[in-house]
């Protein structure tokens, strides 16, 4: 009897192959995080012994952790994948940044707008994303194929019922889809798969002493000259990142887990929603919902 990870793997590989077979120009969004690292490994498996027949795309807000960028470039060339990096240069030039703009506006410029432009430029009609349904309640009903209009926007009314493993890949003029091969995976499944397959992940996930600004309950990474409140001093804190976003929006958590098995064990003990300390979701009730309607993942 197949283990649950092998069953999930088989389903995800099936989805990736269906999209590669039925869409003109797919692209796989690679956000360097743990989920997309698993997704890239599944793509490698889907087409082995050939290489992945579509490019990876990283939407770089320029506010990522330095370690993420180094890891990204090394990983992409190691697996021989074509990597496209896209940044919303115009917005950056006009000074868009998370500190002053607030997460909602900053994300819509540096993530959503950048993503839509990149998809437009590349003429991509299917974009793989590592989003999972159990990350957040409003995603419980998200399809595996998420249909987007010409502006990349999501409308609940024109999503399609998905039965068996039969996916309707017909798109109308100008439409495209976002595809979520990890829909049925949980965070625990992802880490267990990383452990079993020893998939390389950004070291930020592992605990070590890091310079942090302690602000109430949150630990804010000292990078990209984060503005300090009066009297605040960076401190060395034994901590790690639960999920990777832009540095100002990703809180660290105090932890001793410096290996994947320890991370898994901590999660079983901890069971705190990974979304809880990613600031993106707290800005506004249902902010993920709003962002999806605007075309974000």
């Amino acid at each position: 009897m197949l283990s649950h990870l092998k069953a999930l793997e088989a389903e995800s590989i099936h989805i990736i192959r269906e999209v590669a077979a039925e869409f003109e120009r797919p692209v796989m969004l690679y956000s360097i995080g743990k989920d997309s690292s698993v997704m890239v490994r599944l793509a490698q498996k889907a087409f082995y012994p050939a290489t992945i027949p579509f490019p990876l795309l990283h939407v770089d807000t320029t506010f990522k952790f330095r370690e993420m960028i180094e890891f990204r470039d090394r990983f992409a060339c190691e697996i021989g994948a074509r990597l496209i990096v896209h940044t919303n240069r115009a917005a950056i030039a006009e000074g868009a940044n998370p500190f002053t703009l607030g997460t909602r506006k900053c994300c819509s410029l540096l993530k959503t707008r950048a993503l839509l432009d990149a998809l437009q430029e590349g003429g991509f009609d299917a974009a793989f994303g590592g989003a999972r349904r159990d990350e957040e309640k409003s995603r419980a009903k998200e399809r595996v194929y998420s249909f987007r209009d010409a502006f990349g926007q999501w409308d609940p009314k024109n999503q399609r019922p998905e039965l068996w493993n039969l996916f309707n890949s017909r798109v109308n003029q100008g439409e495209s889809i976002r595809v979520f091969p990890l829909s049925n995976w949980t965070e625990l499944d992802v880490w267990r798969y990383i452990d079993e397959e020893d998939i390389p992940v950004v070291p930020l996930y592992f605990a070590k002493p890091r310079a942090m600004v302690v602000r109430g309950e949150s630990l804010i990474p000292v990078e990209h000259d984060v503005p300090l409140l009066p009297g605040e001093q960076p401190q060395m804190v034994m901590c790690r990142m639960r999920s990777l976003g832009c540095t100002p929006c990703t809180g660290a958590i105090r932890s001793e887990a410096d290996t994947v098995p320890k991370i898994i064990e901590e999660m079983l003990r901890f069971r705190r929603s990974e979304r809880e300390n990613r600031v993106i979701d707290h800005d506004q009730e249902g902010s993920m919902e709003i962002k999806k309607r605007e075309g974000y993942f």
């Binding site: 009897m1 197949l2 283990s3 649950h4 990870l5 092998k6 069953a7 999930l8 793997e9 088989a10 389903e11 590989i13 099936h14 192959r17 269906e18 590669a20 077979a21 490698q44 498996k45 889907a46 087409f47 082995y48 012994p49 050939a50 290489t51 349904r133 159990d134 309640k137 409003s138 419980a140 009903k141 609940p156 009314k157 024109n158 999503q159 399609r160 019922p161 998905e162 039965l163 068996w164 493993n165 039969l166 309707n168 017909r170 798109v171 109308n172 829909s183 049925n184 949980t186 625990l188 499944d189 901890f270 069971r271 705190r272 929603s273 809880e276």
Partner: protein, 526 residues
């Protein structure tokens, strides 16, 4: 750890959200911060339904409700719940949730017993081929945990599922609110010695029947990194792919042997459902997406005309004659719904004639596809027995189909045979050389035509008449030949009759058709 997918169905307020919330909470599935948030929000004590209230909140806002997928796991198993609303308007969502389920949990409120709705939920679970059904008799705390109430629900439900011909459900008396028999056994129902719901979910065998069936391997993608590797990638639908095994390739009909079963983690000695692998064959055969590698011993049906049950999912109704795109395994073909046999009344399973099928209707139809499909009846093989219908204009997924079998009458594939022609025209092919005028030939044609024959006249030089007439005869038609140059057509014997002008006017069809290259020159004609 194994993976079990189950669907849940229940009418409004039967306690489904509470039950799922309780399962998530007691099994440690719900995240702690969500539990803390819910504690704050629940008025008195823990309102478990708030953990999964996504559906209820949306019900109030009338948003199109869908299938919500929830996840939890125990040390033994990972579970995927397809939570579907119970309202009858949402048949399409229930069918969607049920389509991938290994097991269905049907909720019944102990106070109300088996309602129309519960029958509908059980019917859809059976229709979608869910191998195992659990009937959760909820709110036992509101009926003082009385055994006879549970027994009466079971008796009523048993008779209904017997009527369906479905497997006998497993019954569990529980209280989602108080937690009796959900995760932990109940202290209030000593008379019940069965399993708690969670224990049953942990121990129910996961559908592994698929690997026992004959090999069905739909080709998804051809992998050719260079000249020396050619592999067919796909997910094993049923049976087991093994190196050395003979396979039949459809549609080409050629056979070959599996050379290797390739994966990133090394070559395998066997690949069973639902594994995604890449199969290499010993022979260089032109195979592409949409083809299927199957057991040479037990091939699937191959037909263009099918009988199927369809769940209609689009606002625009299904009407006979309308064309759709049909997706089956990895094939997309054009298809036309030839007839609607009947619509199913889901309250009493009666069949009603129907001119069309509307949103959320279920009906039996005859479908004709442009190219043959290679399929097994759905109840034998959900992967090769299922299809979706796509509206060619709006691209929406308009319907979901479950194949019953090839359509009963004239269902053949491959070239048309002589017998099929005789059955169709009511007579064998025949060539009549008429030693007479074109006028007589036309009269004879009219006579035979009115007798129901498929007949045509060929006149011209012997040579042209010969080739046309022999082709027509082979096609099962009656060819009346008149040679202008009066040279008899050079037709091979067999099914050839030579008539004089006068004879042609009073022929006896029976005798004519019995004729077998005998000439009929004689007083009585034929």
């Amino acid at each position: 750890m194994e993976l079990l997918r189950f669907s849940t169905a229940g009418s409004v307020d039967d306690g489904k959200s509470t039950l799922i919330g309780r399962l998530l909470h007691d099994s440690g599935g719900a995240y702690e911060d969500q539990i803390a948030a819910v504690k704050k929000a629940s008025r008195n004590g823990m309102d478990f339904s708030l953990l999964t209230d996504g559906l209820r909140a949306e019900r109030e806002q009338g948003i199109t409700i869908d299938v919500a997928y929830r996840y939890f796991s125990t040390p033994r198993r990972k579970f995927i719940i397809a939570d579907t609303p119970g309202h009858e308007q949402y048949t399409r969502n229930m069918a969607t949730g049920a389509s991938t389920a290994d097991l269905a949990v049907v909720l019944v409120d102990a106070r109300h017993g088996v309602l129309q709705q519960s029958r509908r939920h059980a019917y859809i679970a059976w229709l979608l081929g869910i191998p195992r059904i659990v009937v959760a008799v909820n709110k036992m705390d509101l009926v003082d945990y009385r055994r006879e109430i549970f027994d009466s629900v079971r008796a009523e439900f048993d008779s209904f599922s017997a009527q369906l011909g479905a497997v006998k459900p497993y019954y569990i008396p529980l209280s989602a609110l108080c937690g009796d028999n959900v995760v932990n056994p109940s202290a209030h129902m000593p008379w019940y010695d069965g399993k708690s719901l969670l224990r049953y979910l942990e121990e129910a065998p996961v559908a592994d029947g698929a690997s026992a069936g004959p090999l069905r391997f739909p080709v998804q993608y051809v992998i050719r990194p260079d000249q020396d590797f050619r592999g067919y990638a796909g997910q094993v639908a049923s049976g087991v792919a093994r190196p050395g095994e003979e396979v039949l390739i459809l549609p080409s009909g050629r056979t070959s042997r599996v050379k290797s079963v390739v994966t990133w983690d090394g070559n395998l000695q066997a690949a069973a459902p639902p594994m995604s692998v890449t199969v290499c064959l010993e022979d260089e055969i032109d195979i592409s997406r949409g083809d299927m590698l199957v057991s040479a011993v037990e091939p699937p049906h191959a037909a263009r005309r099918l009988e199927a049950t369809v769940v209609w999912m689009a606002a625009k109704p299904l009407a006979p004659g309308r064309g759709y795109i049909l997706k089956h395994t990895t094939r997309q073909v054009r298809a036309t719904v030839r007839a609607i046999r009947h619509r199913v009344d889901m309250d009493n399973l009666a069949h009603h004639p129907a001119g069309e099928l509307r949103l959320n209707d279920i009906g039996a139809v005859t479908i004709e596809t442009h190219h043959a499909l290679f399929f097994d009846p759905y109840l034998q093989n959900r992967a090769t027995g299922s299809f979706i219908l796509i509206d060619p204009l709006t691209s929406e997924t308009a319907g979901a189909g479950m194949i019953a079998g090839p359509c009963a009458d004239d269902c053949h594939t491959g070239p048309v045979t002589g017998d099929e022609r005789v059955a169709r025209y009511g007579h064998p092919g025949l060539a009549i050389w008429l030693d007479g005028s074109l006028q007589t030939a036309r009269t004879l044609e009219r006579k035979l035509f009115d007798l129901g024959c498929a007949v045509c006249v060929f006149d011209g030089e012997a040579e042209t008449v010969t080739s046309a007439a022999s082709a027509a005869r082979d096609a099962g038609l009656i060819a009346v030949c008149v040679a202008t140059d009066n040279i008899p057509p050079d037709l091979s014997p067999g099914r050839l009759v030579h008539l004089k002008d006068h004879e042609a006017l009073h022929i006896d069809l029976e005798k004519l058709l019995e004729a077998n290259s005998r000439s009929f020159i004689g007083g009585d004609g034929i």
